[in-house]
């Protein structure tokens, strides 16, 4: 359905020029994209591949050299589309001399929100991003993670339908990264559309429904994450409590069916999971060194 298309680009191109109008870089070449309502869309690519340029074009921060960018069916340079958009820039470019409350109040005013609504919304968001304890401190005293959180809060001040996140997890510690990813998934549950760009592949893999891979300004791959990553001729079995005899039997079954056993081993957890579990443990029992070796961590569940 056409009404479900939130973002549409048609042969979107961007050429950066110097002062004299000479061509410097072709940052984006004929990008065609459609992003549906309610999906988490990831833009992937190495540095300088055109991810941020695409987002800036969609926001109207840059003007396309040719082609069109439509957001909610309106031209991207049309300011009124911003009513329903939340944007978290690559680094949180906020006014350092304001404190968290003033910052959110300021952005609330920019959405023409009346004072009572603003007050309530500001309190909710500060609570949500967990900065209640630092809401009166000017942002220049904030750590990078805290700045990122307040950046996310300002992006959500208007309860947007479309959220654009530019490198949402850079500068965050693993806990922050996990919280950010959980937040993104929660936003999808609320029926919102999320467009994020990142070069941290693990993050994209964890949250995105669909991805586009850009390289040197060109679209190289586009599709659902699960489809793109499925290796069709390999089968993976996870099981618990198998004896050695049973494992041996399975090997035999595989060879009987002319299958090739690639590996059969005890899985290792990810470093992320290990780290998180140590931190959780330390928070629960402060003052003790976590004894990881004696308490094996459960392996990461594939869904998280």
């Amino acid at each position: 359905m056409a009404s479900d298309v939130i973002i549409e680009t048609r042969a979107l191109s961007k050429v950066y020029r110097d002062f004299w109008g000479r061509q410097k870089v072709r940052a984006l070449k004929g990008l065609d994209l459609e992003i549906q309502q309610g999906e988490i869309f990831g833009l992937l690519g190495p540095n300088g591949s055109g991810k941020t340029t695409t987002i800036k074009l969609l926001l109207g921060l840059l003007f396309p050299t040719s082609g069109r960018a439509l957001v909610f069916g309106r031209d991207a340079v049309d300011v009124s589309k911003n009513e329903r958009i939340g944007y978290l820039p690559e680094e949180s470019y906020l006014y350092k001399f304001l404190n968290a409350e003033e910052t959110l109040d300021f952005y609330g005013r920019l959405f023409d929100m009346p004072a009572s609504v603003r007050k309530q919304r500001v309190a909710e968001l500060i609570e949500m991003v967990g900065l209640d304890w630092a809401k009166r401190r000017p942002l220049k005293e904030y750590s990078k993670g805290m700045t990122r959180r307040i950046g996310l809060a300002q992006a959500l001040i208007n309860d947007p339908d479309l959220i654009m996140l530019d490198e949402p997890t850079t500068g965050l510690d693993p806990i922050g990264t996990r919280e950010m990813k959980d937040m993104i998934l929660k936003l999808r549950e609320q029926g919102k559309t999320v467009l994020m760009c990142s070069h941290l592949l693990a993050d994209v893999q964890d949250v995105c429904d669909r991805i586009a891979i850009l390289h040197q300004g060109e679209l190289k791959e586009l599709g659902r994450v699960d489809t793109l990553l499925t290796v069709a001729d390999v089968t993976q079995v996870h099981a618990r409590g198998l004896t050695d005899a049973c494992q041996h039997e399975i090997r035999e079954v595989i060879s009987r069916h002319q299958g090739e056993l690639i590996s059969m081993e005890n899985p290792t957890t990810t470093l992320e999971e290990l780290f998180l579990s140590i931190v959780r443990d330390s928070a629960a029992r402060p003052g003790r060194r976590a004894t990881v070796a004696s308490e094996p961590v459960p392996p990461a569940s594939p869904s998280s």
Partner: protein, 605 residues
């Protein structure tokens, strides 16, 4: 001070202009805006066509114009307020209050370098505080306004603002209003501090020691006051115990005696004749020449500045001012205060005609209808000195019969003042504004703050230019640009005269050649006919854009009212309204320009 141009009533100025102007100020504003719009449209299309081809370029230009005009007036008060407030907070963070501290520091130490023993300390002090305030506030406005938006773009804080439903106009207007607020607040504090400073420094009184007074002829007393503010006065006290001092440093004091002769106390009042805001009522000037014939102007004595013309002494030549509405209701005190400033051109100098003594002249009041004249009053014309005459209502005519000023000498409220020079071979020079009636004074306090309003007006213009430039230039470049506008604005008049060819020496190229070749301004160019034609043609081509630029520039010299206040002239409400309108016009015009600049630029890199 010379008020060369007539101050028109506000509405006439706004809608119709003076006798020399084709239009009033408002039509001019629209002409300028429309012209600028058309030029911008053509320029924008050309650039766009070069980049994208004629059709695509046309489409883009069309979208910019239509979308721009549609969004121009979509202004949410809450958003503008939020951005203005942010601007104020940012200014405070950038230590704008240092300006105030600097100013207060200057005032604290001003007494060290402003000498109170000047001939006119009032003028010195008032012009000092007004000038210092002007420079500080304009510099502050300049630095604040030009760096704010470029910094936002450089730090990319603008990203989080323009991705909200904020129109470019709101960003520009919020900035302008925010800086205007900061400037106003700073100016208000400076104004109050300056007022207190001037009143405290100039206001003074003297003590009189009773034993120093000596009996004078006719029963009064004479003596001297003690020294205060580096001067002392001679005192004359009459038999009833009322007296006054002589005039020193441009002021005098009233003296009252309390107590009886032996243990008398003398009270010296505050200085009179300073803290003035005179409201001059100008008349129309005409001349008659040495043979008694009417002439629109007097004669030239070869002075380059043709503002004043001269009458010859010891002949029938006279300067005649005709004043309207000379009625008893307007001059309630029962006398007619006339103030005269006469230039003297001496063909010989000597004891009799020394500059100290001045040249003898006469004033006669005349009924324009009946020709009845008052008895001649003589005065000595000294240059750079305002001669004050208080003509009482009961007068004698030229034959010595008693007459009434208002009943006999005016016709329908019209009165003629004839001024003649009595000394042979000396000349009096005058212009229309040199003789005026002074029915009343305005409050000095009000006038002082009107002077500060004129600084406020200039501050608004600087802020508007600064913000406009910062929408498309980087901070330092925007600053240079705005400084250039400020400096050229100070010389607007000169630029206009060069552009219209009113200055000797030709246009820019011709002047350059004259300077390099060390040629006289008045002589013909010696470059040969063909070259001269080429130079003149090139100058004609250059002077047109020069005229356009100079016409648009703000006239900072005209907007400054320092001399009005320091020389004790009331800034008329009409003049103040004109200046405020001018600054509003700049705000509106530059807002529109800034809006389009910001709208058509990419804020991201």
């Amino acid at each position: 001070m010379v008020i060369e141009t007539e101050i028109l009533p506000f509405w006439q100025w706004l809608l119709y202009g003076g006798s020399d102007d084709a239009f009033g100020a408002l039509p001019w504003f629209f002409i300028a805006m429309i012209t600028a719009g058309v030029v911008a449209l053509l320029g924008g299309y050309l650039i766009s066509a070069v980049r994208h081809g004629p059709i695509e370029g046309g489409d883009r230009t069309y979208r910019v114009v239509v979308g721009g005009l549609k969004n121009l007036l979509v202004l949410s008060p809450r958003r503008v307020y939020a951005l203005a407030r942010l601007t104020v907070q940012e200014s405070l963070r950038r230590h704008v209050l240092v300006t105030l501290a600097v100013f207060l520091l200057i005032l604290m130490f001003a007494a060290l370098f402003l000498r109170i023993d000047q001939p006119d300390p009032f003028k010195l002090y008032v012009s000092f505080v007004l000038t210092a305030t002007t420079y500080l506030v304009l510099l502050m406005a300049l630095f604040l306004s030009v760096f704010s938006l470029p910094n936002d773009i450089k730090n990319r804080t603008i990203y989080t603002v323009v991705t909200k439903p904020v129109r470019p106009g709101e960003i520009v207007l919020g900035r302008m209003l925010g800086f205007a607020f900061v400037g106003t607040a700073v100016l208000a504090v400076m104004g109050l501090a300056s007022y207190v400073f001037v009143v405290r420094e100039i206001g003074h009184t003297h003590a009189i020691a009773a034993q120093t007074l000596q009996d004078a002829e006719g029963g009064g007393q004479k003596g001297r006051t003690e020294t205060a503010n580096a001067h002392r006065h001679d005192v004359t006290i009459d038999r009833e115990g009322y007296g006054r001092t002589d005039s020193v440093q441009g002021h005098w004091h009233e003296v009252t005696q309390t107590g009886s002769r032996e243990d008398a106390q003398y009270d010296v009042g505050p200085p009179q004749g300073v803290f003035l805001a005179r409201v001059p009522v100008l008349g129309k000037l005409r001349f008659i020449d040495r043979l008694g014939e009417d002439k629109p102007r007097g004669i030239s004595v070869g002075n380059e500045w043709g503002y004043r013309s001269y009458i010859e002494g010891g002949t029938q030549a006279a300067a005649i001012w005709t004043f309207d509405e000379v009625t008893p209701g307007r001059f309630e005190d029962g006398y007619l205060p006339i103030e005269l400033t006469i230039r003297v051109f001496r063909t010989h100098k000597g004891d009799q005609d020394s500059i100290d003594r001045g040249i003898l002249g006469s004033i006669v009041l005349r009924n324009p209808q009946t020709g009845l004249q008052s008895e001649m009053q003589s005065f000595r014309a000294r240059e750079y000195y305002v001669d004050q005459q208080y003509v009482s209502r009961k007068l004698l005519d030229s034959d010595g019969n008693p007459i009434d000023l208002f009943d006999d000498l005016t016709h329908n409220g019209q009165l003629e003042v004839w001024v003649q020079c009595l000394k042979d071979e000396q000349y009096f020079g005058m212009a229309q504004a040199d003789c005026y009636l002074r029915p009343r004074n305005q409050s000095f306090t009000v006038n002082f703050f009107k002077g500060f309003s004129s600084i406020w007006v200039q501050m608004l213009v600087v802020v508007a230019f600064g913000v406009m430039c910062s929408t498309f230039l980087s901070g330092p470049v925007a600053m240079m640009f705005t400084v250039a506008i400020l400096v050229m604005g100070l010389f607007k008049d000169f630029m206009l005269r060069i552009a219209t060819g009113d200055v000797y020496g030709g246009g820019p190229i011709e002047s350059l050649i004259r300077i390099v070749g060390q040629q006289n301004l008045m002589s013909e160019l010696n470059t040969g006919d063909v070259t001269t034609t080429v130079i003149r043609t090139a100058d004609a081509v250059i002077t047109f854009p020069m005229w356009v630029v100079a016409s648009i520039l703000p006239d900072f010299r005209g907007l400054s009212k320092v001399r009005w206040v320091s020389e004790g002239f009331d800034i008329s409400p009409s003049l103040l309204a004109q200046d405020v309108s001018v600054s509003l016009a700049y705000l509106v015009g530059l807002f529109v320009v800034g809006y389009f600049f910001l709208r058509t630029r990419e804020v991201a890199k």
